[in-house]
């Protein structure tokens, strides 16, 4: 397991603080998710109507990791800052690109990515840390480069995150796909990945 030093923006005092990105989610990370993250999410969801709850609030990360954690085609990431879990991500690396110019070439596909509830404006205002989403996209790009995929990345976005991927990250929107609950598919070329990394 590798640990990379990254930086998150701490809203409380408007500073950047050091964080650690691990390229493997461990039992310790899952315990942090279960003990710290889940209770906050459950409290927020409370009596909310299903359509108003965060779209990933029902995700069970222990179950997801148990299903794919042992496979070479999946990689998991955990982001830790000031002793707390700030985000989790699972990517896969056996899918093909769909954009015409890179069609059929392998990509790193973001299967699941979530930031901690206290980093979401709809749950905790002001949020505790900003920047987790961009760090995870950077991690997916780096993983793609390490695989020899040139930074190519793809994902299906939950509706609440579409603008982030298109406007903030520079993904190309390819449209909704019926095979993925009509979620919109986004993809990044090698040159778009280079541009994203330059702007980090």
């Amino acid at each position: 397991m590798n640990e990379s030093i990254v930086y998150l923006h701490k809203a409380e005092n408007n500073t950047f603080v050091e964080a650690s990105l691990f390229d493997q989610v461990t039992d310790e990370h899952l315990a942090m998710w279960s003990n710290e993250w889940v209770p906050v999410m459950k409290k927020h969801v409370g009596d909310l109507k299903l359509e108003n709850a965060p779209e990933d609030s029902h995700w069970d990360w222990k179950k997801k990791l148990a299903e794919v954690g042992h496979l070479l085609s999946y990689q998991s990431f955990a982001l830790i800052c000031e002793g707390d879990l700030q985000g989790l991500m699972i990517v896969s690396n056996v899918r093909s690109a769909k954009i015409q110019e890179q069609f059929g070439k392998p990509i790193v596909y973001v299967e699941f990515v979530s930031t901690a509830p206290w980093n979401r404006v709809e749950i905790n205002k002001p949020v505790k840390y900003r920047g987790a989403g961009r760090i995870f996209i950077l991690a997916a790009i780096e993983s793609s480069r390490e695989m020899g995929y040139g930074g190519r990345v793809g994902l299906h976005s939950l509706p609440q995150a579409e603008r982030f991927y298109e406007s903030k990250c520079g993904f190309k929107r390819l449209g909704p796909e019926s095979t993925h609950q009509n979620l919109c598919y986004f993809e990044m070329t090698s040159s778009q990945a280079d541009l994203f990394c330059q702007n980090m």
């Binding site: 590798n2 496979l71 070479l72 085609s73 690396n93 056996v94 890179q102 059929g104 070439k105 392998p106 695989m147 020899g148 995929y149 040139g150």
Partner: protein, 70 residues
């Protein structure tokens, strides 16, 4: 980075031709193609159990065909 181990792979001319073709098509090194093949095989092998099939779907023709897997 995990420790890496080296192995030698002996291929026939035909196998090497296929490997070179795939490397060019997928924009990967030959090693990258072999690693991708290993990841794919493990993933599919894990999913295929008695009673399960791997299908290829042609959306345009609305056809499905079974992909035979070892």
């Amino acid at each position: 980075m995990s420790a890496k181990r080296t192995m030698t792979l002996n291929l026939t001319d035909r196998e090497m031709q296929v490997l070179e073709h795939l490397a060019a098509k997928k924009d990967l090194s030959k090693t990258g193609v072999m690693k991708l093949a290993l990841r794919l095989l493990q993933t599919v092998d894990e999913r295929i159990e008695p009673g399960k099939k791997l299908l290829v779907e042609d959306e345009a023709k609305n056809e499905k065909s079974e992909l035979i897997f070892l």
